[in-house]
């Protein structure tokens, strides 16, 4: 399999994850589309270096989260970009209005966190173990634990307030 084919397979495998990351780091569809493309572009640029490294998911999360973190809002007229329909979750059979409402609340809760904590909560919700979160973020496992405990408290207090 050639480089392009391998890369396409990786992106297809993680397209849902990239979607989730872009929804957390942006607040509108245009920005989300830009960020999605930027993440894919950054992953492509670093694809060669990744192939010599260890875990694919570590590399993918690291580059995607770093790109989300350093996103700079564009100014003025938006440039034309590739139109992708992936920016909306389609209503599947299990879709209901309650889920939509919960999704909205989820975005609100995570959106209220600072940029660093957003990355940590994404990894936590993705079911990553502290060791892997530590590898992706560069924080020690103890620090990951402490920060996640604080984030949970923050979210809990917000939930109680609301």
């Amino acid at each position: 399999m050639g480089k392009e084919a391998k890369f396409i397979a990786v992106i297809k495998q993680y397209e849902g994850v990239i979607f989730k990351i872009t929804t957390i780091y942006t607040d509108n569809k245009d920005d989300q589309q830009d960020l999605y493309q930027d993440i894919v572009y950054q992953l492509w640029k670093s694809f060669d270096s990744f192939r010599n490294e260890a875990k694919i998911s570590t590399w993918m999360y690291r580059v995607a989260l770093n790109t989300g973190l350093t996103r700079i809002k564009k100014r003025g007229r938006r440039e034309s970009s590739i139109s992708i329909d992936t920016m909306v979750i389609e209503h599947t059979e299990t879709w209901d209005s309650q889920f939509e409402e919960r999704l909205k609340l989820l975005y609100e809760q995570i959106g209220s966190l600072n940029a660093l904590d957003k990355g940590l909560i994404i990894l936590f919700l993705e079911g990553k173990k502290y060791e892997e979160i530590s590898e992706i973020t560069g924080l020690s496992t103890t620090n990951v634990g402490t920060r996640l405990a604080r984030i949970k408290l923050k979210l809990k207090s917000r939930i109680i307030k609301n």
Binding site: E4, K12, I82, L116, K152
Partner: protein
């Protein structure tokens, strides 16, 4: 919505997304093309246009510097030149640094620290540039009046009677606003950075 519900919703969203893979090979390959990256570079456009404009004005002042024949006109000219020549370079350099953060090899923590510091520097310089813009308004009026009309605003007119106090007051309040705005923006980032060092 409690934490368990957040996690359940996240899982449900993941399942929904798994069912609707939409990216085609063509779209993915298009996204890897450099031309689509170009739009991100355009963030520098305003700063670059500003720099070209600043250098054009600087050259004009430098060609006519001999016209500034008193100490205060010369001082005004030098301050104007200083702002016009130095600031655009600093702003462009700081933007380059901001966009040059290594996203591939840095960890999330390293990226956060580097990016926060670079962003902090850009914000500071952008505010400083706005402040200098007002300072230039203050210093360039007598300079251009002399160069273009041969007229010294401070001699034979009463302009200075209102010009100096009004512009000083504007500069004072503007500087206070710049400082206040900058402090509030950087405070939250500083708190997280200090927290990370612990």
């Amino acid at each position: 919505m409690d934490l368990d519900e957040i996690k359940a919703t996240w899982t449900q969203m993941s399942e929904q997304l798994e069912q609707q893979k939409k990216l085609t090979d063509k779209i993915i390959l298009e996204m890897t093309q450099q031309k689509y990256r170009n739009k991100f570079r355009k963030i520098n456009t305003f700063e670059t246009i500003g720099a070209v404009f600043s250098y054009a004005i600087s050259i004009y002042i430098l060609i006519n510097i001999n016209e500034l024949d008193t100490w205060y006109l010369l001082t005004s000219g030098i301050i104007t030149l200083g702002c016009l020549l130095v600031l655009p370079v600093l702003v462009l350099r700081s933007l380059k640094k901001l966009q040059g953060v290594d996203l591939m090899h840095s960890t999330y923590k390293e990226t956060f620290i580097k990016f926060s510091k670079a962003k902090d520097h850009v914000l500071f310089l952008q505010r400083l540039a706005i402040f200098c813009g007002f300072l230039i308004l203050f210093t360039s009026m007598p300079v251009f009046s002399k160069i273009q009309n041969g007229k010294d605003l401070f001699i034979g007119t009463k302009t200075w009677l209102w010009y100096i106090p009004v512009m000083s007051a504007v500069l004072f309040f503007f500087a206070r606003w710049v400082y206040g705005y900058y402090s509030s923006i950087t405070k939250s980032a500083e708190t997280i950075l200090n927290d990370l060092d612990q």
